[in-house]
């Protein structure tokens, strides 16, 4: 395996990290109208990710930068081709990010409601569109001989792409609700468990359809690692069902952990289905962007490898420590006390 192949998987690792981490942020954001019965409850939910949402979001910036550095052609084609979809994602992420930080700055209920709406929309839209984008990458989009995308936003809204979007939307939703159950107490926690039972069931049905379709596509496209794709898809399905069962039994820690692993294996399924392409062309396979023809020089990849080798373990270490520091549940009484002190 050469460095370009290694970087295909490092970039994959970074996107897996992003979808696992910001994935539950999206779910937590979307759960607000379902679980946040009053302002204390909503603050309880938001505070579960208060200290970490920024570091979670940073994963997409690092993933994007590494994609740029390791595969400039992929980055250029993908970002200019999926222009409007990415624009909408950006606007949503902006709205969501400022809302987390500005919501608590004033006591007015109208002020808070406005930001709550932005949190919900700013979480749901990327949760949907990331799935649409990744599903389309794997399925293939119209690319011409210069690797330029020749479709439009509507090209992306095909049945498989939309199913991919609905899958990530539901998967992240349930993943986030598990997280709320794991990190809160009282009414919010109980409601979260009940909600996850229903959303988890729906997720299982939709995700199963999407994974099967992915396998069928991969087989039709002659994916060289088809066996791995099938195994990963199967493991993802088992983990997803396992998380649902764990939630049913009230083991919310297990539910969340298995849910996180579901996201990992589901994204890996897509990554292995994509291999060795990075953006297959639906116009003509000869126009496809591949690991070989999209990557940077060996010198650049060597330097990047050293940087990743040294810093990624360090990043995982201090981010893991951060989660450990904030391991305590956000209790209702804690928020009430803080509100009273204010």
């Amino acid at each position: 395996m050469d460095l370009a192949h290694l970087w295909f998987f490092i970039v994959g690792f970074l996107f897996v990290g992003y979808f696992v981490l910001d994935g539950f942020d999206f779910g937590v954001g979307m759960s607000l109208p379902f679980l946040g019965k009053d302002d204390i409850g909503r603050r309880q939910i938001i505070n579960t990710i208060g200290p970490v949402w920024d570091l979670n979001e940073t994963w997409v910036i690092v993933a994007g930068a590494c994609l740029f550095a390791a595969f400039p052609e992929w980055y250029a084609t993908l970002f200019s081709g999926f222009y409007l979809a990415l624009l909408i994602i950006l606007l949503a992420l902006i709205a969501r990010g400022v809302s987390f930080e500005y919501r608590h700055q004033r006591d007015s209920l109208r002020w808070k409601k406005g930001f709550d709406t932005m949190i919900v929309a700013g979480s749901a839209v990327p949760a949907l569109l990331w799935g649409v984008a990744v599903a389309n990458i794997v399925q293939g989009v119209p690319l011409d001989a210069d690797h330029e995308f020749t479709g439009s936003l509507l090209t992306l809204l095909n049945p498989y792409g939309l199913l991919g979007g609905v899958t990530t939307l539901l998967l992240f939703f349930t993943h986030g609700v598990y997280f709320v159950a794991r990190k809160t107490d009282g009414q919010v926690q109980q409601d979260a468990r009940r909600l996850a039972t229903w959303s988890g069931l729906l997720t299982i049905v939709v995700a199963a359809a999407f994974l099967i379709w992915t396998i069928v596509n991969a087989e039709a496209a002659g994916a060289p690692l088809l066996a791995v794709v099938i195994v990963l898809a199967a493991v993802a399905a088992v983990l997803l069902i396992g998380s649902w069962v764990a939630n049913l039994r009230g083991a919310e820690g297990w539910a969340f952990a298995l849910g996180a692993l579901t996201v990992v294996t589901a994204v890996l399924t897509l990554w292995f289905a994509l291999f060795p392409n990075v953006m297959p062309s639906a116009t003509d396979p000869a126009y496809s962007l591949t690991i070989e023809n999209a990557s940077s020089t060996d010198y650049t990849l060597t330097i990047m490898s050293w940087a990743a080798l040294i810093f990624l373990p360090l990043v995982l270490l201090y981010q893991g420590w951060t989660y450990w520091v904030f391991r305590k549940r956000v209790s209702r009484s804690h928020i009430e006390r803080a509100a009273a002190a204010h």
Binding site: D54, V62, G64, A70, L93, V98, T297
Partner: protein
Amino acid sequence: MDLLDPLLLARWQFGLTTLYHFLFVPLTLGMSFTVAIFQTCWFRTANVKWLHLTRFFGKIFLINFAMGVVTGIVQEFQFGMNWSDYSRFVGDVFGAPLAFEGLMAFFFEATFIGLWIFGWDRLPKALHLATIWIAAIGATLSAYFILAANAFMQNPVGYQMSADGRRAELTDIGAVLSNRVVLAAFPHTMFAAFMFTAGVIISVSAWQLARRRNEVMMRSSLRFGLWAMIIAFAGTFLSGDQLGLQMVATQPMKMAAAEALFHTACGADASFSVFTLGTPDGTHELFSIRIPYLLAFLSEHDFSACVEGINDLNAQYAQQWPDLAQQVDGSFAPTLWITYWAFRWMMGLGGIAVLVAIAGLWFTRKGAKREVPQWAWRIAIWSYPLSLLAILVGWVFTEMGRQPWIVFSLMLTQDGVSPGVPGWTVLISLISFTLIYAALAVVEVGLIIRTAKKGPDPLPDPDAPAADRHETPTTVY
């Protein structure tokens, strides 16, 4: 002019979103260190005054920080969205510093800022203090990598052209990271960031002091701000001088454009015009105030040096790049009225900012007989935008002065734009960003003013029982 010209729209979007992003960057860079310094004072002296100052300026810092975070993602995405051919051309070189920024700086910043905000009651004091320092250092490293990437656009080094000539390939990462331009631009950017931060501290403290509120704390922060402004100005001035030398050595056209100097001039003739009035078409000079020798000195630290003029440089470049010369109609010069005036406004605004600080030190000196008059407070309160405006026009000068190149000597801006993205798409994006950014600016400025006016938590009554003094606050969103 075609209103749906993707190139024009993409340039407007980049200019708008980048300048907007940079409204928040300087305060993030400067205030993170300021807050870290205040918290260190608290840690060492246990004087609660410093804790309250830390919390107070920390709040302002965080309101601003959030905007920097969310507008930063746009920056990384739009290289690919609007400038895909540029990305293809430079990705092998330009991507590495961006990736380094993410792996080595941005992760630190984002993680440790969260630990700082929510860690007050969860981490030991010393460790909590360390988190804000790590976040500040992360932000600074982040600035370095981004400026190194930018320096490649001004002065490409450490690369070779690929065999097919389609892309620049990295050959020496050390050369890219120690580009002579970034070595000068980095301190210049950092010191300028501290100038604006000092301006905000002065303004906020002055507002409180003019109303005789929180006088003990605000007097400390005011003096801190005034001294910081003067020291930061000295740093900005000296590093700016160095940056000027590098600019002349690497992009002589930019210096010629800064002075609107058409003909090569030496010694006394290489004068610096403080102010020029010309005919509306810019061809004839009607009136100007000139300082002889100054341009020669600024360019090479030599009073007898020669400064190349626009016409001579154009002739030289036309020989060097005959094909490109046709594309740019024979002119490799940027838009002169922009570079000329941006250069002067940058220096002038920065100069006024430091004069305000010097006057402030005089008014608030120990043993001053009379009270600071209200008009002086008012000037101090309203002086905060001076250095920010100086920073913005400084960037306008740097980047507009690079035109018509996107990477100096290697690629024209017009060749970097995404070939497959239609004008209307860019227009939608430009309008969306303008609207959302305008709305957020209103909210953000409103919140900062509100926080600044509310002031720090008042100092506790020294006679109160110790149990009533909350020394370790909790943060809840």
